[in-house]
């Protein structure tokens, strides 16, 4: 899956940093039918977690009725230099992990 990840490269200690992530995903709701009338199976990202140096920043439970290519934005307080790790899982059982490094001055 293609991902656009936006985390500031540097931040001051104690500063709130904005994190933006755009994930390429069909987010198929499971409510639609194809041209033959067969139900299109649900295929959404249902679980998303962001951790910062191992500590959980945000955990999201996602449901259908979210558009394709979901965009998530949230903030975190910069404390120490290290890594933001993003992990999500979809209905196919596939999971993906992305990492972004940040330097805290």
């Amino acid at each position: 899956m293609r991902v656009l990840l936006n985390v500031p490269k540097t931040a001051k200690k104690g500063e709130a940093v904005e994190i933006k992530i755009l994930i390429s995903h069909p987010m198929e709701s499971g409510q639609r039918r194809d041209e033959m009338g067969r139900a299109v199976p649900r295929m959404v990202i249902h679980d998303f977690v962001c951790t910062y140096n191992g500590a959980e920043v945000i955990r999201l439970a996602l449901f259908p009725a979210i558009a394709a290519n979901p965009f998530l934005a949230f903030s975190a307080r910069a404390e120490d230099s290290g890594a933001f790790t993003f992990t999500w899982m979809d209905d196919s059982g596939a999971s993906q992990t992305e990492t972004a490094l940040i330097v805290v001055e």
Partner: protein, 241 residues
């Protein structure tokens, strides 16, 4: 004096009506913000994919994607050798044929990705399509298609997109139908789409028979539409509702 002022006002209105106006300016502030921030613009997912394809199939001749800045602003371009206008997608396929690579469909993910990448390089430059010389006949054909009533609804493109642009159809403002942002991300499509796809939708919307892809009529209409957008900044990949 008052009459003169009124005449000036009417003239100003007419001029304002004639000036090209990007669909970006008719979209809601939320959609505009989505387009303006690369971190939020879902079209950038295709640009990223395009960069990977560029490295595989284009970089050995063309170098970095930045080196084609300005190219997409000149497309569709009249090709004197072929005697017809060529879209950016058709140009990519010509390149691929010359180098022994298989052609891409106009709506394939690969074609959308690479044209989005090439278009992105020209972002902000004014559309500058040369409609002079032998290209004029194609512009005229394109204009004829644009102004001709067609389909069961018996509507022409021009009736709404020239005549009624800026007014409302239901809750939405009628745009001028400018093409400075293709390929673009439509929220309705939940994906990136080509001008071919847009025109298929338009023609199906007025219950007309869609123009065959790659046909001379399609080339003429896209050439005219591009020329009509001259002066507007390239917005690829734009975001539209």
């Amino acid at each position: 004096m008052i009459r003169r002022r009124a005449a000036l006002f009417v003239a100003a209105l007419l001029l304002a009506g004639a000036a090209p106006r990007s669909g970006h300016d008719d979209a809601s502030p939320a959609v505009q913000a989505m387009q303006d921030d690369d971190a939020e613009n879902p079209g950038m997912l295709w640009v990223e994919q395009g960069a990977a394809l560029w490295a595989e199939g284009c970089a050995s001749c063309h170098g970095t994607p930045e080196s084609v800045r300005g190219v997409s602003a000149r497309y569709p371009r009249y090709d004197p050798a072929l005697g017809r206008p060529v879209t950016l997608g058709a140009q990519v396929n010509q390149c691929r044929a010359r180098t022994g690579q298989a052609a891409w469909g106009s709506d394939s993910e690969e074609m959308l990705s690479v044209t989005a990448l090439v278009g992105r390089q020209s972002r902000g430059l004014p559309v500058a399509i040369d409609g002079s010389g032998p290209a004029q006949a194609w512009l005229q054909q394109g204009r004829a298609l644009f102004t001709e009533r067609q389909g069961q609804l018996n509507l022409s493109c021009a009736q709404c997109h020239d005549g009624l642009a800026g007014q409302r159809l239901g809750g939405a403002r009628i745009p001028q139908g400018q093409v400075n942002g293709y390929p673009l991300y439509r929220l309705e499509w939940q994906g990136l789409g080509s001008l071919d796809r847009r025109l298929r939708n338009c023609l199906a919307g007025v219950r007309a028979e869609p123009l065959p892809p790659g046909s001379p009529e399609m080339a003429a209409l896209q050439f005219y539409l591009g020329w009509r957008s001259n002066g507007l900044p390239v917005e690829t990949p734009a975001v539209r509702p």
